[in-house]
Symmetry: C2
Subunit: 567 residues, 2 copies
C-alpha cells in the first residue's frame, strides 16, 4: 500500500529550508530508499516516493511558509541535478502503475505552476549539474532555469532516443507551449540523447541563462535577491497591521510558523473495506468493484469562523482544509491502491446551511492569503477528482449537502441521481458564490460553464438561485441527470452500478477523458489529454516494453530491436 | 496495395446524384465488395473502401458541382442508415491499419465540415433508419440531423458498451464540443448500447428533429428547400454575367459539368521503388526506411493563367490543383502502403518565380469559387501532411523552390536543412501572401504563427521579405533548422537520416503529435490529438483486442472477459 502522507521531518530525498522570503528545496535522493524492490535511485533519479515528498513540500510552502517569495530547486549531488524518473523502476512497473505515477508527477508540476500563477511565488531551477528527462521536466515547470557551465553539465530529454518512450511529465508540451521553443528545435532537442549545454540551450530558449561554476552560486543568489524584490508588490500576505513588526530577514522554521499555519498529519483509520477520516468515509465494495465515497459537511460541533483571524487560529482543522485534504488522500488511495474499483458513488452528509456559511466566509475573504490558499487547494483537489480514471456517480438523497463547494463534486461526476420522493422528506442541492469561478477546471472554465456550453445563459440562471432546489427544480435547471421517485430509486441505482462496472475499464477511461473536458484547452488539459494519452499508448507498445523494447533493454548488455512499422 | 483514387462511375457503395442546388449522397453498401477478406459489410457498415468513395464524392461536389447548396446524406437500405465501421473488419485488422483507417475517416468527416464552414454548403443527415457507431458519427459531422420516428430507429454509440473501444471517428468530441451536449447526458448516451430514439434524442440535443415514417421524406424535402433558400446569399459561385442564364432547376450530371470543373483520374506510375506522378516523385529507400518526396514546381511548359476564367479552362491540370492532388495521393500511399518508411525527406525542384506567380494569382482571385476551392484543398492536403505519422525533413538545395505554398511543406516538416554553399550556386527560399493565412493548420494558426509563438513579431517580419532568402538570411529569419556548408552537407544529411530512422517509431509518432501542434486547440486538434491517442491506446489493450477482449469476441458465442483494473 502506498502512503501519500509525509512531512519534512520524514523526508528521505529532499531538504526544505526556509530563510526569510527564500526557500530552498534541495534534492539528495537516497539510492536505497525506494518504494519497491529491484532498483536503486542513482544520480538523483526518482520514483513515486521521491515525488510524494516534493508534492508535500510545495504544499507546505504555501500553508506553512506563506512569506516565501522565491523557491530555489537545486541538488546536493555534485555535477548532477536530477536524472529523471528511474528507468529500472519504470521497466519493472506495471502499465497501470506507470500511468498513475506519471499522472501524480504531472499534478505536482502543475501545482508548482499553480503556486507561481496564483500565489505569486517564483520558482527558480538552479541546475548545478546535468538535468535529464524528468530532471529537465522539473526545471521547465519552474519560472526560470539556470544551468552551470562546467564544460559537462547539460539539459536533455533522452526518452525518445534512449528509451523509446516520451518525456511523460509534460516536457514536450511545455517545450512548445510554455517556453514556446520553435518546433524544429524542439524536435532536435527531444531526439538528442546527450542534450544541449549552456550556450545553445540559452539560444534556443531552453534555459534562461548559464554561469561558470565559479560564479554559479553568486549568480543564483543575485537573481534570487532580484526576484524577491520584484515580487514584493504582488504578494500581499497580511493586512498592514498584521505585518507590522514582522521582517522577512527573520528565519522561519517549519515548527515556528511565525507566518503560516501547520499542516498536521491526517488522522485516518485503514479498515479492511475502506478508509475512515474525520470528514471523509471511503467504503469499498470490492466484489462489485465500486466504492462509496462520503463527504461529511461541517458537523454540529465544527467551528464556523467568519474572520480570517479565527480561520488562522483553527488552522488545518478548519473544515474546508481538513475535508479536502482527506478527500485528496482518499482519491490518491483509490487510484494507486484500489485499481479494481471502477466506479465511485459520491455522497454527502450534513447541513446545507453550514456548507453555505463556509462558502460565504471563503468568498468574503478570498483576498486574505490563507483563504486564497484554501480555495486554491480545494480547486486543485477537485481537479484531481476530474483527472481520476474512475467513473463517478453522484447520489443525492435526503440528508445530503451537495451545496456550493460540495456541489462541484456533483458537477464533476460523470452523472448524478437525485431522489424525487413524492411523499417522504425531500433532498435538495444548492449553489453558492464559489460555483461562479473560484474552483475552475483544468480547461479554465467553471464546472457550470462546462456543463452549459450549449446555453451559457443557464449558468447565470443557476447561480441566481438563492434557495435550495428540490429534485424537480434541480432537474429543471439542468443540474441532475436522473430524478427517480422512491419506487424506482433503489433499483435504478443498483442497475446503474451493475451496468457501469460491467463495462471495459479501458474504454471508460478513454471515454471519460474525452467527455469531461469540453470547451477550451489549456496547457494542463493538453498534458493530461493529448500527451498523456500518447504516452500511455507508447507505454504498452512492444517497442518500449516488449522483451526487445528499448525501456526493457536499457542498461542491459542486450539491445533493443524495433518493429519499424509506423503507426 | 490500397488505391485511394476512384470516381462516381466506379462507386460500389454510394450513389451521388445532383439536381440543381441539391445533391444526394445515398449509402447502399454492397456486402461482398470489401477491401480485404474475412468480413461482409452488412447493414451499411463500412470499411476503408466505402470511406474512400465518400471522400471522393465530397471532393467532387466541391469542384464538379459547385452550384450545390445542400447535400443530403441518406441510405437506400430500409430501416438502417448506417451501422458504422465494420466490427469484423476492425477485429481482424492490424493495429496500424485500424489507426490509419480511423485517421482517414476522421479526415473525411473534417472535410465535410470544412466544406460547410468555408464554402457554405449545408450537409443534412436524413436518418431513414438506425444510425449506430460510425453511422451516428457520420451524421454528427453534418450540419443537421433528422431521424425517422418508426418506433424502432435509434441513434447510438455502442462502442464502449458492446466493443470495449471508443467511437473513434470524432463522435465523443463532437458530442460535447460541436453539439455541446451536457456531459452527463453524453455519458449516458455513450454507454447505452441501444441508444436513443427520436423524442429523447431531440431533447438531449443529439438530433435536430424527428418525423414519422409517413412524413419523413416530405419533411426532409421541405427542410432542404428552406436551406437552399437560406444559403442563396452566402455562396457566390460566379460573377453576375457568368451566372446569367443558368438556373438551379436544371439538372447537372457528373459529366456535364455545367458549373464546375472535372477531376480526371491522376496519371501515376507505380514502380518497385516508388511512385511517379507528373509533379510529384516518390522514391522509396526501403532498406534505410526513408523516402524522398519531391514536388516539382510548374515546369517551363506549364500554363500560368492569371484570370479565374483561364484557370477554369485549365481545370484540374492547373498546377496547384494537380500537384496537390498528387501530393495527397502520395501521402495516403505512404501511410497505408509503406508502413516501414519512417522518414520522408521533402524536396522541391523548380523555379521560385513561377511558384510565386501562381501564389499571386491565387491570392488575387481568392474570392472566386474555383480559386477558393483550390486554396481550401491545398490547405487540407497540407493538414494531411501535418497529421501523417512519419518524420519529415525538408532538404533545401540549389534548384529547389520552397516558395509560398511550397514553403508550407518546409514549415510543416519536423526540421529543415539548407545548403549554405560558400562557393557554388546558392539555394534560396521565399515567402508569399499565401503564407499569411490561406493555408491554416488544424489549430487555426498559420505555420508561421505556430513557429514563432514565442515572438509573434517575427511573423510580420518574415512576411515582409519581398525577395528570396539565401541560407544565412533564412537562418537569421528563424526559418531553417540547420545550414551546413558544402563540406558538411552530405555527411550531416546522411547522419541525420540514419539517426532518425534508428529511433523507436512509436515514440516518434507520439513526440511529433505533441510538438507539431503548439498553441490553441480546435475541435479538429482534439479529435486527432486527444481522442485519437486514447483510441489508439485502447486499440491495443487486451480488454479490446486480446483473445478475451470485447472487440475480438463480438458476435461470437464466446464472451468477453475483462481485466477490471482501471488505468
Amino acid at each position: 500500500m502506498i502512503n501519500f502522507q509525509t512531512s519534512p521531518d520524514q523526508y528521505k530525498h529532499w531538504k526544505l529550508s526556509v530563510a526569510g522570503s527564500v526557500a530552498t528545496l534541495t534534492m539528495d535522493v537516497q539510492e536505497d530508499v525506494t518504494l519497491a524492490e529491484g532498483y536503486k535511485l542513482k544520480l538523483n533519479s526518482y520514483d513515486l516516493g521521491v515525488d510524494i515528498e516534493l508534492a508535500d513540500a510545495v504544499l507546505r510552502l504555501r500553508f506553512e511558509h506563506p512569506q516565501v517569495k522565491v523557491v530555489v530547486i537545486t541538488s546536493l549531488k555534485p555535477r548532477i541535478f536530477c536524472a529523471g524518473a528511474n528507468i529500472y523502476m519504470l521497466g519493472t512497473s506495471s502499465h497501470a502503475f506507470k500511468v498513475n505515477f506519471c499522472k501524480f508527477t504531472n499534478e505536482t508540476r502543475c501545482a508548482i505552476e499553480d503556486d507561481s500563477h496564483h500565489s505569486g511565488r517564483r520558482y527558480l531551477a538552479a541546475l548545478n549539474g546535468t538535468a535529464s528527462g524528468g530532471g529537465y521536466e522539473l526545471a521547465i515547470a519552474c519560472d526560470e532555469i539556470y544551468l552551470v557551465d562546467d564544460g559537462n553539465s547539460a539539459i536533455s530529454l533522452p526518452e525518445v532516443p534512449l528509451l523509446g518512450v516520451l518525456p511523460g511529465t509534460g516536457g514536450l508540451t511545455r517545450l512548445v507551449d510554455k517556453r514556446r521553443v520553435r518546433r524544429d528545435r524542439a524536435d532536435v532537442f527531444s531526439t538528442l540523447a546527450e542534450g544541449l549545454k549552456g550556450k545553445r540551450a540559452k539560444e534556443w530558449g531552453l534555459i534562461d541563462d548559464y554561469f561558470p561554476t565559479s560564479r554559479f552560486q553568486e549568480s543564483i543568489d543575485a537573481r534570487v535577491r532580484e526576484i524577491a524584490e520584484e515580487v514584493t508588490q504582488t504578494v500581499s500576505l497580511r493586512t498592514g497591521s498584521e505585518a507590522a513588526g514582522l521582517t522577512d530577514s527573520e528565519s522561519s522554521q517549519t515548527n515556528s510558523l511565525r507566518y503560516g499555519i501547520k499542516l498536521n498529519p491526517l488522522q485516518k483509520e485503514l479498515k479492511p473495506a475502506g478508509v475512515e477520516y474525520k470528514y471523509v468515509t471511503l467504503v469499498l465494495n470490492r466484489e462489485q468493484r465500486y466504492a462509496d465515497l462520503t463527504l461529511h459537511g461541517p458537523g454540529p460541533e465544527a467551528d464556523l469562523p467568519v474572520t480570517p483571524e479565527d480561520i488562522q487560529k483553527l488552522g488545518d482543522s478548519y473544515w474546508p482544509l481538513q475535508a479536502y485534504r482527506e478527500l485528496d488522500d482518499a482519491l490518491l488511495h483509490l487510484r494507486v491502491n484500489e485499481a479494481e474499483i471502477g466506479l465511485v458513488c459520491v455522497r454527502t452528509q450534513g447541513n446545507i446551511d453550514d456548507v453555505l456559511a463556509i462558502d460565504k466566509t471563503l468568498e468574503a475573504n478570498k483576498d486574505h492569503w490563507l483563504v486564497r490558499e484554501i480555495l486554491l487547494y480545494m480547486a486543485r483537489v477537485l481537479r484531481r477528482f476530474d483527472l481520476t480514471a474512475k467513473s463517478f456517480f453522484a447520489i443525492v438523497e435526503p440528508g445530503s449537502c451537495f451545496a456550493g463547494n460540495l456541489l462541484e463534486l456533483l458537477l464533476a461526476s460523470d452523472r448524478s441521481y437525485m431522489l424525487n420522493d413524492t411523499e417522504g422528506p425531500q433532498a435538495s442541492i444548492s449553489v453558492s458564490a464559489l460555483n461562479a469561478g473560484s474552483l475552475p477546471m483544468s480547461n479554465g472554465l467553471t464546472r457550470l460553464q462546462s456543463r452549459f456550453l450549449a446555453d451559457p445563459e443557464k449558468v447565470e440562471k443557476v447561480l441566481a438561485h438563492n434557495a435550495p432546489l428540490d429534485a424537480e427544480e434541480a432537474d429543471q435547471a439542468g443540474l441532475i441527470t436522473f430524478v427517480p421517485d422512491e419506487l424506482d430509486w433503489e433499483d435504478e441505482i443498483r442497475v446503474a452500478i451493475e451496468e457501469r462496472t460491467s463495462l471495459s475499464p479501458d474504454a471508460l477511461t478513454g471515454m471519460e477523458a474525452s467527455l469531461r473536458f469540453a470547451g477550451p484547452e489549456t496547457m494542463d488539459t493538453k498534458i493530461y489529454g493529448r500527451l498523456t494519452a500518447w504516452q500511455n499508448w507508447i507505454f504498452q507498445r512492444p517497442n518500449a516494453v516488449g522483451p526487445e523494447g528499448a525501456l526493457t533493454n536499457y542498461g542491459k548488455p542486450t539491445q533493443a530491436h524495433f518493429d519499424f512499422k509506423r503507426t
